[in-house]
């Protein structure tokens, strides 16, 4: 077994061990032990509670991400290609990127009610700015010699966009998507905790109200685990897909 893996396991053991000890002391009546939480997690996985909850939670997340990705890449491409569009839309997304957009949630609830629409909206406003801005800057920063090459070999504007600019921008677009998904997770959980408790948010809220802390911690543990695993997977995929893409422009 190599050192890196061993240390990762050791590190996990230390943290989970500390959690267990802190729960046994206990540091707070609302702090269950690690083992109790894992038992609750196991129980919820077995009886299907967790599966049903994720069915609920993932719906606005997937819908929101899909909309943000499609719209975000199109707008970003447009901003990157057209100076007018850059002037018109960039400030909006730059402000959105810096602003605490979560503050819009009460307004969205008033406008669209407490249903799926509001939740999808929350995911979208969280995920879209980074997707748009990454796409726009990747498109804008396509090496100019590649674009000149396309023109000098008589490529049409459409050819240059689809065969040169988009493939060349795709690694950065993809990492924008990954960051967007990360923000989307924050939005989806925020929506479930703030708007109406459904899915995993419901387990968290309900078990807190009946003081079933192991279940509450288990649900939180599971959603963080899911998000981290999924984002890690995307990062690996990114590394594999675009391995050669960032090299090979000028002799290095």
């Amino acid at each position: 077994m190599n050192r890196s893996l061993l240390l990762k396991l050791l590190s996990a053991a230390i943290v989970f061990g500390a959690w267990e000890i802190a729960g046994r002391v206990p540091v707070s009546y609302a702090f269950p032990t690690f083992l109790d939480s894992m038992t609750a997690l196991f129980a919820m996985s077995i009886d299907g509670t967790l599966l049903r909850a994720y069915g609920e939670t993932l719906r606005p997340l997937v819908a929101g991400i899909a909309i943000s990705a499609l719209l975000g890449i199109v707008i970003g491409l447009w901003i990157g290609l057209s100076e007018f569009c850059d002037w018109l839309f960039s400030p909006i997304f730059i402000v959105m990127q810096a602003a605490p957009l979560a503050a819009l949630i009460p307004l969205l609830v008033m406008a669209y009610g407490i249903g799926l629409t509001s939740k999808v909206f929350v995911v979208c406003i969280m995920a879209m700015p980074v997707i748009v801005l990454n796409t726009a800057s990747a498109v804008r920063n396509t090496p100019s010699s590649l674009k000149e090459m396309g023109r000098s070999f008589l490529g049409s504007d459409f050819d240059i966009v689809t065969r040169i600019i988009l493939p060349s921008a795709s690694p950065i677009i993809f990492s924008g998507l990954r960051l967007g998904i990360s923000a989307g997770f924050i939005g989806a959980i925020l929506a479930e905790l703030k708007i109406t408790p459904t899915g995993v948010g419901d387990i968290i809220t309900y078990s807190r109200s009946i003081a079933d802390y192991p279940s509450m911690y288990a649900a939180i543990f599971s959603i963080i685990l899911l998000a981290v695993l999924f984002l890690n997977l995307l990062e690996r995929l990114e590394g594999q897909l675009f391995a050669g893409n960032n090299r090979g422009y000028v002799s290095d």
Binding site: D86, A111, I186, I220
Partner: protein, 250 residues
């Protein structure tokens, strides 16, 4: 963007959007979008009210305490991780996990552990900001020029001196970059914390406005918040550019 040979300044399109907002409001298309002029009038009215000022004060306090904690804990920890391989290997996986984890899910835990008040919001803010600060400080230390370290050793610097006279300064551009991103995240964190805990600061104010359907009030507060957040992020970017010279020259 140039129009008729005249170069339009970067953010001038926001004027166009403001006009569009005013138009939509005037046309009475939707109850949720009052005309911008009405929002601005409301803004001027509510700015000096005690309710607004106390919300702003509470938010600023939570934000500043949260950022201070994140910087004071994050920068030294990041530098230590950059210096010590064992510590780095033990902690880095957790830093990476919390960097991408949906931290909103942790707010309910903070609520039951630390109560429905200021402390939970401060901790939420710190949690949003700290991970990127640690990671950048670590990256800053890792890229320090080896000959600089050897120079310190050859002149007989003590570990304490080396830490404060070499590592900190050599890693400063990266550290500041991390603090900038951390602060932008902290702005989002403090608002998310207030929304979920919603008895203090703007969280309480939003609650009040939305139950009474005070749209103009709501938008006025949003404008203040967004403008403040944007101003903070631009100010930090400006400061970062001012130290960039020294990153380029080493």
């Amino acid at each position: 963007m140039t129009l008729l040979g005249f170069r339009l300044p970067g953010f001038s399109s926001l004027i166009l959007w403001a006009l569009l907002w005013e138009l939509v409001g005037r046309l009475d298309l939707t109850f949720f979008v009052p005309p911008l002029s009405e929002v601005v009038v409301t803004l001027v009215q509510i700015l000096p009210t005690p309710a607004f000022l106390s919300a702003l004060g509470e938010t600023a306090q939570a934000f500043l305490l949260g950022v201070l904690a994140a910087v004071l804990a994050g920068v030294p920890l990041g530098i230590l991780m950059g210096r010590n391989r064992l510590l780095d290997e033990l902690l880095l996986p957790w830093v990476n996990i919390f960097l991408s984890a949906p931290l909103t899910a942790l707010v309910p835990v903070l609520m039951v552990l630390f109560g429905f008040g200021m402390l939970s919001i401060v901790i939420t803010t710190t949690l949003f900001a700290i991970w990127i600060i640690i990671l950048n400080a670590r990256a800053g230390v890792l890229q320090i020029n080896r000959s600089l370290v050897e120079m310190a050793k050859s002149f007989g610097a003590s570990p304490f001196d080396a830490f404060f006279k070499i590592y900190f300064w050599a890693a400063l551009p990266e550290i500041l970059g991390g603090v900038r991103i951390g602060i932008i995240r902290a702005v989002k964190g403090v608002i998310i914390g207030q929304l979920l805990i919603s008895v203090v600061g703007f969280g309480a104010l939003f609650e009040l406005y939305s139950t009474n359907f005070l749209m103009a009030h709501f938008w006025a507060v949003l404008i203040v918040l967004f403008a403040l957040a944007f101003a903070i992020s631009e100010l930090l970017a400006h400061l970062e550019r001012r130290v960039a010279y020294y990153a380029a020259r080493r």
